[in-house]
Amino acid sequence: MNEERDSQMSAMFDGELPGAECELLARRLTRDEALRAQWSRFSMIGAALRAERGVALHDRVAWKVQSAVAQEVTYGDGTVDAAITTTTRTSVAASAGSTGTSSVTRWARFARPVAGASIAAGVAAMSIFWLRVQDDPETILASNPVTESIVLAPESTGTVVAANTPQAAERAPSNGEPERYVTPAPSSSASIAPPARLANYVVAHSEYSGPLSRRMALLGLVATDPDAPPQAEPSPDAAGASDVP
């Protein structure tokens, strides 16, 4: 089963998985955390193989893959294929926990052009993309008629853009906020550490950013690993920004 899944995922990265299977697998990705983790590992291996500039992957296995591939000569050399196949098998086994001949073959094909391009900087196709059916019962509520809607160029899936028309106010969802909450005392007792203050600044700043940069700013907070070491060497008095809030 794992082998089949590996094969499917690598085919997905190759762009060789049929659309229907692609969608099925992607649906499972959204539901299955373990599968998602595996997919991330595949992504990392892919990125390592492609040696995308600036995407410095610290994963040791991925690094080994990259190093091994980088040592190879040129695309077309028979020894390259063998080496890549071996390396890939190792990495897939190490990271995904299973190895299948078909997936190894696919990874070898995936890796070859990269070796041929001397690990050229390029676009890392790290995921698949598709538009789900507009009336997917899992995600779409039975909607009221809308007064305005824009239909895009017809996809096979019939994508419709949001109407963006004012709707009757719906009941605001509970966000878990208690009726009483802590308002930090504006006193000298530092109820908020400087890093939390920095988080506060980033959030406030994001409100004035454009759509792209706002997302990037907030991602820095959402995705920050609380246990990660500081990413910059602060001055002795600097705020430890990595530990937010």
Binding site: N175, S206, P245
Partner: protein, 345 residues
Amino acid sequence: MFLDSSHAVHTRRAHVARIAAFSLLIGAGVAFGAEPKEWLERMNRALTTRNYVGVFTHVHGGRVETLRIIHRVRGRDVSERLQSLDGSGREFIREGNELICYFPDKRTVLVERRAPDGPLLGALPAIDEGDSLVYEIRGGERQRLLGRDTRVVALHPRDQYRYGYRLWIDEKTSMPLKTQLCDQSGEVIEQIVFSTIDLPERIPDSMFKPQMDASNYRWLRAERRVASNTAPALWEAMRLPPGFRMATRSAQAMPGSSEPVAHLVYTDGIASVSVFVEPRKPDSKPTEGPSRVGSSSAFSTVVDGHQITAVGEVPPTTVELIAKQVKASKAAAATEGLGLAPRRK
């Protein structure tokens, strides 16, 4: 003679053909030059006016994380939820004028409130002629990205004071399927790639509920927001990096501050930098130096008894330059006492 005449005709025709071809090339060049900008505008419009639910991979600093974004627009109301699916479990939910940040790993919730009369959230950044002085907008060529036709557009910074973007914009929906944040040399700093995306007609309120029970968390929020018309114009950056200009200034309440915090926003049309100025508490340790949150840079310094912090999705040099240029303007002396004037010693 006949031969000469024929030759002349051929020469003339060749000349006309060359001119025509040249004109076509110039025409094509103009079209190609305009097209990437048009794709950027379409993308901005899609990001700000559409409903979408997407799952994407975020790669930054060697970390790979899966997140989900839900974006809903109803009239002027924008709701957004950004959720970490396999990392910190953190969630940011924006509804109306409030942005609520859930930090389950810290058992803390941070509430940021926007001024009701503030600019529409997600207002389209204007890509004007000035931007082409600091960014080179190029690309627009078609590229297949995992089964979809996309247009690749690059916003390349012309100097070291800003980052650039490489965007793979879906032809049919104008959504950016893949986004790379790059430095001036083209190194990728951060990358987002969608794995799924829906464009539903409606998104129910239930999708903006946090996943965790936060009732026992510590909730931090400012008691009130200071009316924007009280914003004093006391602080400003004396010099700015090329292309940056002041976009807005306001005074806002912040958790933990008894006095309003001055918030100045500078932008080059694409990137923006916020400068926060607040009176430093006498017994608090000053914060000075650089720091980072994700791809955002920050730089803190102290000027005239005030803590100055510049934050933005720009290189560290830019926030440092701006923060160090922030000074109290002359009007400060006359209006000292409002809480934002520099403290006299």
